[in-house]
């Protein structure tokens, strides 16, 4: 499968996920083992009404989706993936009213596990809202026995 073909499939697949659609996620950029996505600001996703700051959970949803997409963008990965574990560190509040952007890199794939790093920011990538590290399942397409 060529990279651009894979990218088309990944884009269609990711944007078709019911929860991604509910959040209004859009894929900004994809490459080999990499994905960048944006979440538009929405008052329904607020976690603290006194400040208008997005809920931590929606940041988690964005990072998880983006991380999963980066796994699918690895050449070795030919089937769906699922999150095994995900750790999120919150550095600062997401700026209210601004879209939240996430970028994930799947930096290593073994026979059964894919490892991902990701970060999310609003105004500047140098000042992340959150960073994440995760492990994902890998089905290589080879017959398992």
């Amino acid at each position: 499968m060529t990279e651009s073909h894979k990218a088309t499939i990944a884009k269609q697949f990711i944007e078709a996920l019911p929860h991604s659609r509910a959040l209004g996620l859009c894929l900004r950029d994809i490459g080999d083992g990499m994905a960048e996505m944006a979440l538009p600001y929405d008052a329904r996703f607020v976690g603290d009404p006194s400040t208008g700051v997005l809920a931590g959970g929606v940041v988690t949803a964005l990072l998880d989706t983006c991380a999963g997409a980066s796994v699918l963008m690895r050449e070795e990965v030919t089937a769906a993936t699922a999150t095994l574990d995900l750790r999120i560190d919150y550095m600062r509040a997401a700026e209210p009213g601004r879209e939240l952007i996430a970028r994930a890199e799947c930096y290593r794939v073994t026979k059964s596990v894919a490892f991902v790093r990701a970060e999310a920011w609003t105004d500047s990538r140098d000042r992340p809202v959150a960073t994440a590290a995760g492990a994902f399942t890998v089905a290589t397409g080879a017959a398992t026995s």
């Binding site: 019911p18 008052a43 809920a55 929606v58 949803a61 998880d64 699922a82 999150t83």
Partner: protein, 167 residues
């Protein structure tokens, strides 16, 4: 000795406090999370909805939804624990919660989510346990299950920065 308050009065006060706490958070409404209360014990309930699906082929709950559900259960448990103490001691009046002065919420420092099995397309439940709650930091563990309490589909541990309390 003072006569204890009638049970309905106590119940009503506690339920009103919980409603005021939950009702203030838009994202809880968006995901459709409810809370069941037995005494001071809370169970978070995630009502199944098509929009919570991640992989439509399986189908399974979106990993981000599961993570968000666990985090909300943890944050509410932590806040509820302090609301409960203040309410029972009389320091907090439920009317003040309902009049738009909701309790300040803790901020998540980090959360580690452990996905044990796929989330099935049906209701999910979660209960959180505050393992340590200091003046500044708290550590909370939370477990989620669906059909069977003994077969967790996800769990998480999070650290939280407690809101500064004036007065």
């Amino acid at each position: 000795m003072k006569r204890p308050e009638p049970v309905q009065v106590i119940k009503q006060r506690r339920d009103a406090a919980l409603r005021a706490l939950i009702g203030q958070i838009p994202y809880i409404q968006f995901l459709g999370i409810e809370f069941d209360r037995r005494g001071d014990e809370l169970t978070a309930i995630l009502r199944f909805d098509e929009k919570l699906i991640g992989n439509p082929m399986l189908p399974a709950l979106h990993g981000g939804v599961t993570g968000a559900f666990l985090e909300i259960a943890a944050v509410i448990e932590l806040t509820w624990a302090s609301v409960w103490d203040d309410m029972e001691s009389g320091a907090l009046k439920v009317e003040s919660l309902e009049d738009g002065a909701p309790p300040p919420l803790p901020k998540t420092i980090d959360i580690t989510i452990d996905y044990l099995r796929p989330g099935l397309p049906r209701d999910a439940y979660a209960r959180a346990r505050v393992n340590r709650s200091g003046r500044r930091y708290a550590s909370v563990h939370v477990e989620a299950w669906q059909d069977n309490r003994d077969r967790l589909f996800a769990q998480a541990t999070g650290h939280f920065l407690m809101p500064t309390r004036n007065g």
